[in-house]
């Protein structure tokens, strides 16, 4: 009755991914370009930072002609960096083997994590154009650079090197990779290449980026920070982040140490006090803690694990997260275009879902968005470990948080449950050694309640800072309006009265003077309020200067015309009573009830 059973064969991960490239960023020809550049740039930046080098990255996108496939062009993409270069043996691993990585599961805030992305790009090039990646590499130990083609042996998930040759390359070290792929270029829009490039410069103040796209001229965006970020080392795992199976498996990494020692050394936040508590609560005996890990039974592990889950432990350390910093953001934000004013917030690292997370926000008001910008939705830029996320934004934690903020409180227009309107850029950066993406193509960060709340707080603080500027603008407009009113209506009112009572010219003159005094006094009051607002802004500027060492671009204009000061940054505010304290709200209500 039963047929012969088909043989079971093992496929390599390369086979899996090559069949499922849509899951790792190649679901369309337009995304193919973006993914290719993104993976190459991510690797370049990671390598530079790892090596403590200030990155200088160039990107070239060239159209070679029509592709074989309909709806696509043959596109050449070349990404070069001044990083440490790859030892020649590593080239095929990095470009030609899936899940080969120096970073896999290490719990650090690097952009790349798992060693899939760039191998997928090579696969895409192979599939669409029958040729892998052309790599040039030079480390500082090599006298000449090596050029070769790397391909994926899909059947065996192994890198293959072809056409290796030695060449001269006029730089001490670096890496260049060139892909020829079927793809289609989208320049503008949220999912466009420019959004990616701008986003990358925003969250990487230390990056000098050059790019040449099709027939356009080279563009250079110089770095605004001379410090390469220090990527913190990973910390030991926190027991509350583990599952039982992982816990037991973890013990095997430590060989013949005693259980007690293993617990203290192998985990964060397990102290002698914790061990005492385990004994007191009968989750472990003294004897067990003295036993070798190898000798512990499964039952032992289960009990200790249960005990640790119930123990009150300090939250995990947040030392392992990397911060861009307010200073860097403040400088970098100026590279986005003509910035009218902006605010930046760098939260303290915190724990969400038992994992360390750091959230940073920059909001900038742009002056070059043209007519109608006030009615358009603000631009939201999302970053995960300093990589721009450009797709599927609606389900993302960062989008949800931004939509949940009541931006009207800060003087912005906002449709219900939506992003605010106006020529604003809202950049949200989430950095964590353990970002939970919703899918393998890393486009959306899973929206856990804790993470959304943390993001929301950062956005609220940035909104509060921003509102100081907006408030000052309103005060200026108000003063202006008051002056206009007086000039316009005063004489009309006095003249009308004079005609009705048939008054003489002298009375008119006197009344006009009286009126000017009266209303001038009031305008004076508004001027005083404006002054006060300016003093606040000045103080904020001062502080910014102390933090960053620079003043925003329009510094000179600022000195000449203090009423139009341009930037602020501040220390992290306490959140207590935040909503109540907000004064801009009150101010707006008053403004509304007037003038009717």
């Amino acid at each position: 009755m039963a047929k012969a059973i088909a043989a079971i064969t093992s496929a390599s991960s390369a086979e899996y991914f090559s069949k499922n490239l849509q899951q790792v960023g190649f679901s369309s020809y337009t995304k193919a370009i973006l993914t290719t550049i993104k993976e190459a740039v991510d690797n370049a930046l990671d390598a530079c930072e790892e090596a403590g080098i200030l990155p200088e990255v160039s990107v070239v996108v060239e159209r070679l002609g029509e592709a074989h496939a309909k709806g696509a062009d043959r596109i050449r993409i070349c990404v070069e960096d001044n990083g440490p270069g790859l030892p020649i043996d590593d080239v095929v691993k990095v470009f030609g083997e899936y899940l080969a990585s120096s970073k896999f599961g290490r719990g650090r805030c690097t952009r790349g994590q798992q060693g899939i992305g760039i191998s997928a790009v090579t696969t895409w090039a192979q599939l669409t154009n029958a040729r892998g990646v052309t790599v040039i590499t030079k480390t500082d130990k090599m006298r000449q650079a090596v050029k070769c083609i790397a391909e994926v042996d899909i059947k065996h998930n192994k890198g293959v090197m072809k056409d290796k040759e030695t060449i001269d390359w006029d730089r001490p070290h670096g890496l260049s990779c060139e892909f020829i792929i079927d793809a289609r270029l989208q320049l503008q829009g949220e999912g466009g290449l420019l959004a990616y490039l701008n986003g990358s410069t925003l969250v990487n103040p230390h990056l000098t980026l050059k790019y040449k796209i099709l027939d356009q001229d080279w563009v250079e965006v110089p770095r605004v920070s001379e410090e390469a970020p220090e990527i913190p080392d990973a910390t030991e795992p926190h027991p509350h982040t583990m599952k039982l199976g992982e816990f037991i498996a973890h013990s095997h990494l430590f060989g013949r140490v005693k259980v007690g020692a293993w617990l203290k050394k192998g985990f964060s936040r397990v102290s002698d006090g914790t061990l005492t508590e385990l004994i007191r609560e009968k989750f472990a005996s003294k004897g067990l803690l003295e036993k070798s890990v190898d000798a512990a039974t499964e039952e032992d592990f289960k009990k200790v694990f249960s005990g640790l889950q119930k123990a009150k432990l300090m939250a995990p350390s947040t030392k392992s997260v990397l911060s861009i910093g307010e200073a860097g953001l403040a400088k970098s934000v100026q590279r986005l275009g003509n910035v009218d004013f902006f605010s930046v917030v760098s939260r303290k690292p915190t724990i969400c879902d038992f994992k360390p997370v750091l959230v940073e926000v920059a909001i900038a008001r742009m002056t070059d968005r043209g007519a109608g910008a006030e009615e358009q939705t603000a631009t939201l830029l999302r970053f995960a470990n300093r990589v721009p996320l450009q797709f599927d934004k609606s389900a993302c934690a960062m989008t949800k948080a931004a939509e949940s903020v009541n931006w009207r409180t800060y003087g912005l227009n906002q449709p219900k449950d939506s992003l605010p309107l106006g020529p604003y850029i809202i950049a949200v950066s989430t950095v964590s050694p353990f970002i939970k993406f919703k899918n393998a193509s890393k486009e959306t960060v899973d929206a856990s309640d804790e993470l959304v709340e943390e993001l929301r707080r950062a956005l609220i603080q940035a909104g509060q800072k921003l509102s100081k500027h907006i408030r000052r603008e309103e005060k200026e407009a108000d003063l202006e309006e008051k002056r206009r009113h007086i000039e316009q209506f005063g004489p009309i009112l006095v003249d009308g009265c004079c005609r009705i009572v048939k008054a003489k010219k002298e009375r008119r003159q006197k009344a006009l003077e009286g009126l000017a005094k009266l209303l001038g006094r009031e305008a004076h009051l508004a001027e005083k309020e404006l002054k006060e607002a300016e003093v606040h802004a000045e103080a904020a500027l001062q502080e910014l200067q102390e933090v960053t060492g620079i003043l925003p671009s329009s510094e000179s204009e600022l000195a000449a015309k203090p009423a139009f000061a341009k930037a602020t940054a501040g220390k992290q505010l306490s959140l207590e009573g935040m909503e109540e304290k907000d004064e801009s709200k009150k101010f707006k209500k008053e403004a509304k009830s007037k003038g009717k």
Partner: protein, 380 residues
Amino acid sequence: MSGRIDIKGISVEMCERLLRDLERAKRPTLEATKCTLDNAEYNPKVGYLTPGNKKVITELNVSSVQKMSRAIFILELLLRNLEVGATNTKREIYYISKGEVKHNPALKPLDFTDQNESDEIIDFICEMLECYREDVNCFANDRGGQTYSQQLVVVETMPDGSKATIDLSKLGTAPFQPKNRPQDLKLKARKKIDFCLIVESEGTANTLVNSGFTRRHPCILLGAQGVPSNAVRGWTKLIQDQLDIPCYFFGDLDAYTMQNIFRTLKAGSAGSLIRNSDFSAPEVRFLGVLPEDIKRYDLPDYAVRENDVSESRALKKARDALDNDPFFKDKKNKGVSDILNWLLKNKRRCEQQAYFSVNPRDPLMPEKIIMEKIKNKNFV
């Protein structure tokens, strides 16, 4: 009417005060009577809503300077009209102001962007001067009040002193149409007049007259055409005061009629606190449809559609009225507020034309019911 109060004098005085304050760099203020329900008082002996002590005080400041300038500007236009005896509608005033601005660019800042804005200023002026709109020669459309009678004679004294005498029985089937200002009219009765009947629906008033109501009964019959206009209110007041006859209002049994139509006719409205003395007839009684009529005459009634916006708003307003409206709160008007309570409780309504269903073969049945109710004092 134009001589009722000295508009010119009051205006000059007000401007003089304003100017004097300005000369002394003192902040001038304008005072206006607050014309809202919370400033309405009801004295059962007076019988209509009168203004309380609340004033709206506008102090000259940056925010109010526009409104004040506009008020003085429009006031000047109105004073000019009074001087030459010209009258205008609100819309015409709006266009006259447009013309002024066109001819004098210095006035550009005053320019109204739509008629609402100038209407608001006209109302503001009336509240400041404590006068009627008609006092400043600004008139609304004449609406409603078409009156039929075989006994009534109206004598109008014209501006030139001549008199026009109108015998309503001599107009054929045509009605007498009162104007929006309680003109200098003298009412006389050729024969004894028993009562005056004000019918909510103009059409039903017509039907009654056509079927011979005014021929059979010595009375005055007039149609209100919904919420009574100033013409209807002033005219009813004249009939009540000069002829000293009972006045009955015949309308629908619903919250809107009770509050917006009957209350306004009998005691005026909160918005016209200043004018109510001349524009309300406190002796008017509500003849029906009374709640008990539904049973007595087996009338077809309807459930209030609570998901209908306007009907549910009327109910909500009724609830407010019982709590806050001094007219409904006064025990003198208990009969009327009992009806409001009944409406709120039962959520039913009944239209005045329902009387036509009582005996559909007898066109005179509604007339008979009305007369029976008057005879039996079956009204509130």
